[in-house]
Amino acid sequence: MALDISLEPEQDAIGEINKYNFRTESKAVFKARKGLDREIVAQISEMKDEPGWMRDFRLKSLEIFDSKPMPRWGGALDLNFQDIYYYLKPTNKQGRTWDDVPEEIKETFEKLGIPEAERKYLAGVKAQFESEVVYGSLKEDLVQKGVIFTDTDTAVREHSDLLRQYFGTVIPPSDNKFAALNSAVWSGGSFIYVPKGVKIEFPLQAYFRINEENMGQFERTLIIVDEGAQVHYVEGCTAPMYSSESLHSAVVEVIVKKNGRCRYTTIQNWANNIYNLVTKRAFAYRDAVMEWVDGNLGSQLTMKYPAVYMMEPGARGEILSIAFSGKGQHQDAGAKLVHAAPNTTGQIISKSISKNGGRSSYRGLAKVEKGAKNAKCNVVCDALILDPESRSDTYPYIEIAEQDVSIGHEASVSRIGEEQLFYLMSRGLSEAEASTMIVNGFIEPLVKELPMEYAVELNRLIQLQMEGSVG
């Protein structure tokens, strides 16, 4: 018999330089002045040559943004909205091959390993640099089957009817202050349509790179999975380290129709001076499955709670959340499940790790609406704290308006055990190796859900975090 004893990757040399922390010398073709007002919003719309409805949507959203107070929960938001660049256009056109992409930007993505990953195991790629998608590809057979994978700006022009039917319906601008901000100044992001019955075997990937200081990146993603269709979408995010903050505030809307299936995987490794304030929500219809796999390793502050609204009977929502907070970081991450129909099933598994004074908070909502009989909802959150300076909090919110339901909630907090360390060290592992092994073991139940390539990447990032060399 095969002794399949390890799928773990060969571990890379620790202490390699952080491959994400480099700056690209790139001349923008257009950079809007700093600050946020009607003029800037109108200018973005004009640069993009948008139809009137989108321009109006943006301006209305700006009003909503101005009218909403800052969130009073989560982390410390020390943001000056007038000190941010809201739009930076790095190049005039989007490349269809990497050779069409300006050399220095192409090199950036090569350093990040995107073209290589594309050759090996991706069905399509979007690469966004600052405000615009600079490269896009999709395998020809998927194009033939009617799959659309484009940047959202192009979709406004080329798939206007389809986009307009769904845009802003899952997350309206009024949802929260940062959703309103994104709705006003959004640029880039992915638009995906998977036609009925089309199952995409390999992942579609988007990669988001912020390069400039004081930059705001506001991509807008809309995914529509039609009946019986299937897609796995993956996004990665990085930025170089600067002395002052940048802002990343995305909105992601997903619609999964009857019997459809969508998995959305994020491995966020922003530099430790990025505010990462993202709204992600999916509507899952009859017997559809929506899964969020959300890995938060970078950023100064992340506030992100991917949500699944189970709209029709049989819908299923699963959210796996991993947060790793190192020095100076606060991951306020979590998940929301809303059972709006009978016989719906939801699960949240959250794992957080805090180290070197980092703070991880789980903030989650489990909600069962009136009439959602026989809803099943299970929440498990485990926290691992590596030293006495670090912190972990749990804020579970549960709202149940129906009797006939099954709700489970388990939470555990553990400190890395001295006995575990001693046990591993007594077998010849150094303290650092032993800690890394315990942490990897802690998140193993989530990592094994990831495709091989992303599991390798996540393990590598965790190892870098453990070494304290990230950011």
């Binding site: 773990e8 571990q11 001295e418 575990q420 001693f422 591993l424 007594s426 193993e444």
Partner: protein, 275 residues
């Protein structure tokens, strides 16, 4: 040259309470020593201190490996120098596969100067060896894919410890009640396994209550520890006597140590928390 593990006048405290009060012991590589004693006598403490457990404070004395004091070495350095401690209560490491853990451990112990991040033993080579050792121990290879000690039965834990011993092939091994929690057949299998994996090439210190574990590993020496001191050393017949008759004679002949032992028993919960 004969390799030696030598303990000289070792005094150890935990949370200010003395547990070991002057232990002297020399083990040559290739010898088997049995260490027996009543509860609270300091058996496990001695094992854990030799391995380098951070909770114990060595107030005086030395532990010498081939003449070199190892007291300043961390547990991992001691492991790489050839010392092994089979835990009485092995610790669970959820999410870490036994095979992955063992591959790291085996690599480090065989290549003591390995820097973190350097290559591990090639997978193919490691798998072949692990498979062979598991076969020897009559273990199902699926076992290697389970998480270290996580949800293991008492017997599985002990067999996993013996598997680690087999893979790491230390110079000196302390087996801390590797027979506890096992039924008679399992103890016999464990005893036989220790012999088969080359126990006779190691210096063994077997901490046990029973003589079954010694069946296939007859000790040249039996030490009796009471109240943190070795009060008597004899041959295999001493182990047999203690097993059948208990500690009454020893206690009678060593009233001072016996009294100290009774005090130690009171602090045993702390010791257990550390073990």
């Amino acid at each position: 040259m004969i390799e030696t593990l030598e303990i000289r006048d070792l005094h150890v405290e935990i949370e200010g309470k003395p547990i070991l009060r002057g232990v002297n012991l020399q083990i040559n590589r290739g010898e088997t020593h049995a260490l027996m004693g009543p509860n609270g006598s300091g058996k496990s403490t001695l094992g854990l201190v030799i391995m380098g457990h951070p909770n114990y404070e060595v107030t005086s004395g030395e532990i010498l490996l081939n003449g070199e004091n190892i007291l300043e070495m961390e547990a991992d350095e001691r492991a790489r120098a050839g010392i092994f401690y089979a835990f009485q209560r092995p610790i669970a490491i959820p999410g870490v596969k036994l095979a992955d853990f063992l591959r790291h451990a085996t690599t480090n112990v065989r290549n003591p100067d390995r820097k973190e991040g350097e290559d591990l033993i090639p997978m193919r080579e490691f798998r072949a060896e692990l498979k062979e050792k598991m076969g020897q121990l009559r273990m199902d290879t699926d076992f290697a894919r389970r998480y270290v000690n996580d949800g293991f039965s008492g017997g599985e834990m002990k067999r996993a410890e013996i598997l680690q011993l087999a893979m790491l092939q230390p110079k000196f091994a302390i087996l801390d009640e590797t027979d506890s929690g096992l039924d008679a057949d399992a103890v016999r299998l464990a005893s036989q396994s220790i012999a088969e994996i080359g126990g006779e090439r190691m210096g063994l210190l077997i901490i046990t209550h029973h003589d079954k574990l010694l069946e296939h590993n007859p000790p040249q020496y039996t030490h009796v520890i009471v109240g943190g001191r070795i009060v008597e050393t004899g041959g295999p017949e001493l182990a047999a006597e203690l097993h059948t008759k208990g500690y009454e004679r020893i206690r009678r002949e060593h009233p001072e140590a016996s009294e100290a032992n009774d005090k130690n028993t009171e602090v045993e919960p702390a010791e257990l928390a550390g073990a």
